[in-house]
Amino acid sequence: MQDNKITARNVQVYYGDNQAIKDVNVDIADKTVTAFIGPSGCGKSTFLRCLNRMNDTIDICRVEGDIRIDGEDIYDPKVDPVQLRAKVGMVFQKPNPFPKSIYDNVAYGPKIHGLARNKAELDEIVEKSLRKAALWNEAKDRLAAPGTGLSGGQQQRLCIARAIATSPEVLLMDEPCSALDPIATAQVEELIDELRQSFSVVIVTHSMQQAARVSQKTAFFHLGNLVEYDETDKIFTNPEDPRTESYISGRIG
């Protein structure tokens, strides 16, 4: 079943003189959930941001190596990062709704990319995305209210809805559940499982249980290195590297 959606070879990332990612090689399969785990500051977000070239927006950041999505080098000068990001959606570590209404937040991507032919279609996309992100019941009566007026957890689900409204092929989620309560977390995990039918999902998480619950593959990062990458079951039951073992049993981090 496993075609590789993303292949990364010898990826190095520098912030100025500081190397944040060291020689990472990874293959991310299509229609799977891949979890990135590792202690804070080990470069999970940095690596995630390489996959949709969000690091381009940071002046001092330099990416080396070869990253391909569907066999196409995304750092090739011919590739338009704007197009790429429409295909590779992202949910950020901190919720960042736009200062617009809830409706306009979700409709933002579809409007820019012309995904809806008319208002009715747009309404449908918005509703579907909000339902998937488990926000519809709370938001349906206040679609015109500003998105920034929602609670932190609701804002994060709004950002998830916004990301899936553009129907990306790959969804990158940076700790999407860190601000959510157990119920919303369960809903988002359900959503991730559902998204797996059609896209590949990469999720950064600090929760071992979550990684174990939602992902099929897990990558463990430590100090900018990819220490171990394998089937999730294997990582959590029988890790090869002693560092992985001590991290998942709670000794580093």
Binding site: M54, D59, V82, R85, M90, K94, F98, Y108, G109, G149
Partner: protein, 400 residues
Amino acid sequence: MQSLTPLLLVITGLAVAGYFIAKSRAMKVAGGDIRTLVSLPRQHALNTVLSTSVPALAAILLISLYLRLTGGQGSWFFGFVVIGLAVTGFATSLIGIKQDRRARTLAERWILGLLIFASTIAIMTTVGIVFSMLFETYNFFGQYDWRNFFFSTTWSPNFRGNSDLGILPLLWGTLYISFIALAFAVPIGLFAAIYLSEYAGPRMRSVAKPAIEVLAGIPTIVYGLFALFIVGPALRDYFAEPMGLGQSASSVMTAGLVMGIMLIPFVSSLSDDIINAVPQSMRDGSLGLGATKSETIRQVVIPAALPGVIGAVLLAASRAIGETMIVVLGAGAAARLSLNPFEAMTTVTVKIVSQLTGDTDFASPETLVAFALGLTLFVITLGLNVFALFIVRRYREQYE
């Protein structure tokens, strides 16, 4: 009060002495171990300085105000009150130094008093100015019908006693020139701000931003000269005459353009700061959805910064409305109601100046009208400021 200097010297002397005496007294009370004190020696010292000087200085100000208003003479009695207050504060705070005395919180109270006092002065000054204008305006309307002032379309003062003092042509000139200035300054200033904050690299920014801000430091009289000698004749020779719109070098357009140049840094510098304050995460969110840079700016950054940008524009508008020098030299002094931007017109501020220069008799309507004009202008700018505040408040909580 001519004897202000000795009074101030006495207060300063007491305060300085109080500082050192309080410090050493606190040390002595502590018996060498300052941990036994509730407040530190320097806090006792601060308390002494403040309780010596604050009431005494406040008394000096109040007494001076009272003397001015009543036209009375300063006497030894007032000096006595001031010194008395200073000495009382000095003595009570020094005697009060005990181990468990909370000088730290007491000093806090004096500081609060000082701050309230300072803001009261600022507010009272404004109130005073408004009242004196109201008073003179009232006198003016006693001699001249207010309907003619507000609704007459001619402005032709003379000293024979049958002047027409209609504000409309002046107000029209003010608004027309301000409108042209803003129509010029707002887009240019905003685009410059967007370039500086979103596109320019740090090196370009460090050169360009101060360079634009230099414009704000040019005295308005220099802008006026520029309008008079360069912009005015150029506009006449290349636009007005070929298009048959007039022969005047002084025109609304000249003053408006030059004023617009003056306003560019107001708009750009403030907008730049405001755009920079929009969190990067907001831009990331938009770029992450596959929006281009300019889509992000148009649809996320500018809407988020809008209240602040509107504030900047309204501030520039108040500047434009109050500007005088550029208008005198650029637009001339003819009060006229006309739509032709190449015609000479004038503004409220220019007429205030011309009504008050030369031989003036402060009781005639021709001079008192200046107060009515000033008050009208003040009400307009006040309205603009209130409106700006309203907009900013209303939309402020939109992003964190």
